[in-house]
């Protein structure tokens, strides 16, 4: 697949609409879950709403709109980003991953599997963002300390599933530790 940087051409569309208002939108290309999508967006439209409304990827949730709760967390080039507070126009050429693309179709990412094993979700609304934040942390730091977990995972879960989140992260870290140990032997 060609890199998305080849698709950075942007064109503005200015046209009269029925009500007489001026519609200003831009066509941009976004690389989401390994696929290029052309979408019309306003200059300031947050990525969150492009994912949800233009691409139908509703697994990424709206919670606060000010990057505090983390329900909208996605990966941009592997790093956790709160999609409610970053304009989609700034993300052309970047690799965006949503909860729907975290694992290959029909399989589960280890974090998703651990979330089932530990029965983490309750209402589940925050968990897409939580899983994206945790998977990004573990990709960077396979065996985080409690202090690192506390510092990095700042998403809000209103149902209060934190005890299980912590247990699930520790179990993933322990597995990473034993896998690393096995490799050294």
């Amino acid at each position: 697949m060609d890199g998305p940087t080849n698709m950075r051409a942007v064109h503005c569309v200015i046209c009269d609409v029925a009500e007489g208002a001026i519609e200003v939108s831009m066509r941009i290309a976004l690389n989401v879950n390994g696929q290029l999508h052309e979408v019309d967006v306003d200059q300031d439209t947050p990525l969150l709403w492009v994912l949800r409304e233009s691409l139908g990827l509703t697994g990424t949730k709206f919670g606060c709109g000010i990057a505090m709760c983390g329900a909208c967390t996605v990966h941009v080039n592997g790093a956790p980003v709160r999609s409610c507070s970053v304009p989609a126009t700034a993300l052309q050429g970047q690799a965006i991953t949503t909860i729907e693309g975290l694992a290959a179709a029909g399989s589960r990412h280890p974090v998703q599997q651990a979330w089932i094993e530990h029965q983490v979700p309750q209402c589940g609304y925050c968990q897409s963002g939580m899983i994206m934040a945790v998977s990004a942390l573990l990709a960077k730091t396979a065996q985080p300390s409690d202090e690192q977990i506390d510092a990095e995972i700042t998403n809000i879960c209103r149902c209060g599933t934190y005890e299980r989140i912590r247990q699930a992260i520790h179990s993933l870290a322990a597995r990473a530790g034993s896998a690393a140990g096995a490799q050294h032997e």
Partner: protein, 731 residues
């Protein structure tokens, strides 16, 4: 246990494709909670068509409760499958559609013997003026921690047992053997003598033609194979890959998006608005004026929100715009000091016993207004045409939402369909009486007909237009005898607690003389049910005050409570267990201190020990141990999750959240000024259950109330400072 005082009416019907559809008609619940009575009173709630059994033996359980993370879908399906002897691998759950047939008004009947009072969580749904409770039986509510203890115990189990009896009968007729020689096991019927077997699916259509038994035999606890096991929740897999669909996730062809701004002062109306700043914006379709709000409809949510933010509507001035937290506080104090009060509970002669007591102790506590702050903001999608209305949303009572939508759309109920989706947190916010977002969505969609419209509230709208946990002040005086034990307990608070023997305002301890009163205060702030309802304040008040009494008596707070629970063996066992698992007698690690609290409500008893440390003047909760007696535990892992979550929810009230009022409106607007606990704030939690054969109690709410007093009591142990106001803040 398995005694029906009257006949249960059970209805059956064939299922397309030759399966069995079974439900129960005419079951209502007698006040003693353990019997089933018939429909001879002419207005019993109906529970129909809960079971669908397909020819391949796939069992679909239709649950008349929403799934909001509390695990009700799984727990109720377990109860039905247990009695039916269904193979758990064949079980699917669907939420019952919002139709009259699935009304569960029986929940209210359970808790309103003689309809003398209404359970707290339903207060907003009841017309107190005429007490037209019977008309409110057409509800399909999830609240009050009732799903398992009412629908499960008295409905799902009976439905499962009935279906099993019919399948056994069908097999017996097929094989020409006595039904008593047939047994059901793992979705099959077996005949031991001949070794023959048939799957439930093979027998379903024949079973559906049989007369259901009037008194199905329920299993005894020692026969359980599912109940009591930590069964993984059926709703969880879809919640880890983004595929679970919530109300906010609905997409319809040609759908428009709406953003709304309601009058900031409760009760004010929209006076005027210059629409042009919004209409000039790209994608905007219309500005819709509502009685007390203005909405912008556009071709995307972001555009609707941006356009709405350019509007400067004026709202009518009301006297309430002068109100503030301080003035509301004064109003409560005036009510408490006024002559008018209502007896909530009374025994002995408490007031007289105060004079001449060896010692008296007095204290005043208070809690602020609180928002629910469900992580899924209020949202509803409505589609109104000339003769139909469809609504997609997440609510705790889709039948109430249907009635509301029908009223607004001016259609008959039958012309309205409500699709209840996964609920992204509710905690009482989405009960009948507080479904204002559904009403708004239908009004806006009516203006935009025939286009469907998705309404999404901003977080700011959500925090500022909730139905809040009331602000409450409680004043307490107790008399102690020469040995330091309480002989009289006098308390007064504003607002309603419930009243009677099971009033949340009553202490759980043996105190001979009690005088508990409530007063009414006028507030313009919209009030609603907040997870654990009145227990959220009275648990804090009563258990803080008990700690003060123990201290005044010079006794250990655990030992003091223990002595007062001599004649309450269940409560005492829970207290003992919490103390045991926390190692109460042992010294906590250096710098840390522990507090204990016990609250009984919703048919369950929970005691918690909190271990805290004061770090840089802030309260850090390191660990919480919880002991729970909720009767027989249906799904221990799911029940533990509810207690863990309840502790964090209670922690938000104990240490973090507060709604204040200035110029008549809510000051806070988002998580920056309405903070909630995060992972860093979450204590480690240990939950243990009492092994019990008692009827199941509630589990969604009872974990909430004990944590605030347990923390406050621990802070006192650590610092000697008695904090009497939530959220707890050190001086």
């Amino acid at each position: 246990m398995n005694k029906w005082t009257r006949r249960a009416f059970i209805a059956t019907g064939g299922l397309v494709g030759g399966g069995l559809a079974l439900g129960i008609a005419g079951i209502a619940l007698a006040p003693n909670r353990l019997t089933v009575m018939g429909d001879d009173d002419g207005k019993s709630a109906r529970l129909t068509t809960w079971i669908k059994l397909a020819p391949d033996s796939t069992l679909t359980v239709l649950v008349p409760h929403c799934e909001m993370g509390q695990g009700a879908h799984t727990a109720l399906a377990m109860m039905l499958a247990e009695e039916l002897e269904a193979d758990w691998a064949t079980v699917r759950v669907e939420e019952a559609p919002a139709e009259d047939a699935y009304a569960n008004g029986y929940l209210v009947r359970v808790f309103t013997p003689g309809m003398a009072h209404v359970p707290g969580f339903m207060e907003r749904a009841v017309d107190f003026a005429s007490l037209k409770l019977s008309q409110r039986m057409e509800m399909q509510v999830t609240g009050g921690s009732t799903a398992v203890r009412a629908t499960g115990e008295l409905g799902m189990r009976v439905a499962g047992a009935t279906a099993k009896a019919m399948l056994l009968q069908a097999a017996a007729e097929r094989w020409q053997v006595p039904a008593s020689e047939c047994v059901a096991r793992s979705s099959k019927v077996l005949h031991s003598g001949s070794g023959r077997s048939a799957s439930f699916g093979e027998l379903a259509s024949a079973a559906a033609k049989l007369e259901p038994p009037s008194r199905p035999t329920l299993k005894s606890a020692d026969q359980y194979t599912l109940i009591g096991k930590p069964i993984p929740r059926l709703d969880i897999p879809a919640k880890v890959d983004g595929s679970a669909r919530y109300g906010i996730d609905v997409t319809l062809p040609g759908m428009l998006y709406a953003s709304v701004m309601a009058a900031p002062v409760f009760g004010a109306r929209l006076a005027s608005v210059d629409e042009s700043p919004a209409l000039d914006m790209p994608g905007v379709k219309r500005v819709v004026k509502l009685d007390d709000a203005v909405a912008v409809v556009a071709d995307s949510y972001w555009r609707a929100l941006q356009a709405l933010r350019r509007l400067t509507p004026s709202f009518t001035q009301t006297g309430d715009s002068q109100r503030s937290s301080e003035s509301l506080h004064k109003d409560i104090v005036a009510a408490l000091e006024g002559k008018e009060s209502k007896v909530d509970y009374s025994s002995g002669d408490a007031v007289a016993r105060l004079s001449g007591a060896a010692k008296t102790v007095a204290a005043e506590y208070q809690v602020p207004y609180l928002a629910h702050a469900t992580l899924e903001p209020m949202s509803a999608t409505a589609w109104v045409t000339a003769d139909r209305c469809e609504v997609w949303t997440g609510v705790q009572d889709p039948l109430a939402a249907r009635g509301l939508a029908a009223k607004v759309a001016q259609l008959e109920d039958q012309r309205v369909t409500v699709h209840n989706m996964h609920v992204g947190g509710a905690f009482g916010r989405r009960l009948p009486g507080s479904q204002d977002f559904v009403e708004q969505a239908v009004r806006i969609a009516k203006a935009m007909a025939p286009k469907p419209v998705k309404l999404i509230w901003s977080r700011e709208e959500d925090i500022q237009h909730d139905f809040y946990r009331p602000a409450v002040i409680g004043r307490f005086t107790a008399a102690l005898d020469a040995g330091g034990m309480p002989v009289a307990w006098v308390s007064k608070f504003n607002g309603a607690a419930g009243g009677g023997d099971e009033s949340p305002a009553r202490p759980v301890y043996a105190i001979a003389n009690q005088d508990i009163r409530s007063t009414r205060n006028n507030t313009h702030v919209r009030l609603g049910s907040w997870r654990s309802v009145a227990y959220s304040q009275h648990g804090f008040f009563n258990e803080s005050f008990m700690d003060e009494l123990a201290h005044a008596a010079g006794k250990d707070p655990y030992e003091y409570r223990h002595e007062l629970l001599k004649d309450a063996p269940r409560q005492r066992a829970v207290l003992e267990k919490a103390a045991w698992i926390a190692g109460w007698g042992a010294k906590p690690p250096p710098g840390r201190a522990r507090g204990i609290a016990l609250v009984a409500g919703f048919g369950s008893i929970v005691a918690q020990v909190a271990e805290v440390e004061i770090i840089d003047g802030r309260i850090k909760v390191h660990q919480v141990w919880a002991a729970v007696d909720c009767g027989r535990v249906i799904n221990p892992d799911g029940a533990a999750a509810q207690i863990e979550g309840g502790i964090i929810f209670g922690l938000s009230a104990a240490l973090f959240s507060e709604i204040t009022i200035r110029d008549g409106r809510v000051v806070q607007s988002n998580f920056a000024d309405y903070p909630l606990p995060k992972l860093v704030d979450a204590p480690r939690i240990t939950v243990e259950f009492i092994q019990s054969e008692a009827a199941p109690g509630g589990i969604g709410e009872p974990g909430v109330p004990p944590i605030a007093p347990a923390i406050a009591n621990a802070v006192f142990a650590a610092t000697g400072q008695r904090l009497r106001s939530l959220p707890l803040r050190l001086a």
